[in-house]
Symmetry: D2
Subunit: 122 residues, 4 copies
């Protein structure tokens, strides 16, 4: 697989992962294949699947016994699987998780500023 | 709200958003409040809700008529709401979306390298 | 709307609701409309939405404060909304929830018979 | 396992499955075990998992290639797994899917009566 940027820099703590690099890496991966991005409703089905996988791990960590032969699962990896689908979804629609994050945080910091109990002396 | 880094730089295209900055911003937001992070199963309930919100928008864009008075919704913002819950989930458990992304992409690029049809002359 | 069976009998405790009556009632409702059943992936989007609505109610009942102006929600009605989509999904594919229930219970009662702690003297 | 009612009648087409019989059968199954019903948030995690399983099957039937070694799945059984969790959820809270269905259909038949295009000469 040919990619236009070096992967080796990514886990270097001096070169932290940006949303743009994650977007570009997923796009480079998908763009190798003739199939390309799934259409939106199929991508949503994938999103729902991955949300279900996260649910399985969290259930296992909080009171549900795994079936015989089933392992507890790896939450970090399941979150990353979900993130992969979200990046695909944004890429396919021309949306930006980075811009969305900014818009959402502005909303949360404003709208919900008094929804919870502020710590004193903060 | 006291935050240790400047927000104004974030949307500057020369200072792109990193996963670490997103993690820290969510943590700064949550840490203001006595309630802190929700416990894992409640956080999962929030994740499921937000996945449902994404489903609603994508359904509206793909054949479902909104109810009277209901708008189509904003997919970028709904993706960001889901991302917020994922960052909370990772923060509360001490997991890293950045590390998870690296692990997942390594898996995907290896395991699924021949799952789809490669474009020729790539 | 013309339906071939009487509704008035349904909530009569001497005429309890069968899965077949529920299936037929949903089919009669949908069959009035030219649009008919949604295709499977759009129906799945609806299913995901309704699962999200259930999550919202259960989150509200278990530690999440509703947003200003938002009510706690009605779990019985949200479960019924999900059931509606499931019946649509089964009807559209020619599947039977009744037969599925039988197959699933046989599996559960056999496979999981020793997964949990039996009460003594049962 | 000892149950207080006969199962043999259930698949007899002359004795169709009622929601009450399904409720009672699930309750008899769960009541054998000391663990009993899961608490609501854990049950919701199970619901999310099962919704994800349905998504996986529908994705497989609509354009997603199963991973090597993975089968397409059985939608009828996955719907039944979801139904099982819903019945547990209703039982644990003292809610009735039968009553919910009636309430929901009344709402749908009224509220959405003109949302879609009526067939002519119905």
């Amino acid at each position: 697989m040919r990619l236009v940027f070096s992967y080796s820099a990514r886990m270097n703590p001096e070169v932290p992962l940006t949303f743009e690099a994650a977007r570009a890496r997923v796009d480079a991966y998908i763009s190798q294949f003739k199939e390309g991005y799934f259409p939106p409703l199929l991508m949503l089905a994938r999103l729902t699947e991955e949300t279900g996988e996260i649910a399985r791990v969290i259930a296992h960590q909080n009171g549900k016994t795994p079936k015989p032969g089933e392992d507890v699962g790896d939450l970090e990896l399941e979150l990353a699987d979900l993130l992969f689908v979200m990046i695909c979804m944004a890429n396919e629609r021309g949306l930006s998780l980075e811009r969305g994050f900014e818009r959402m945080m502005t909303k949360v910091e404003t709208r919900d500023a008094d929804r919870w109990t502020k710590k004193e002396n903060l």
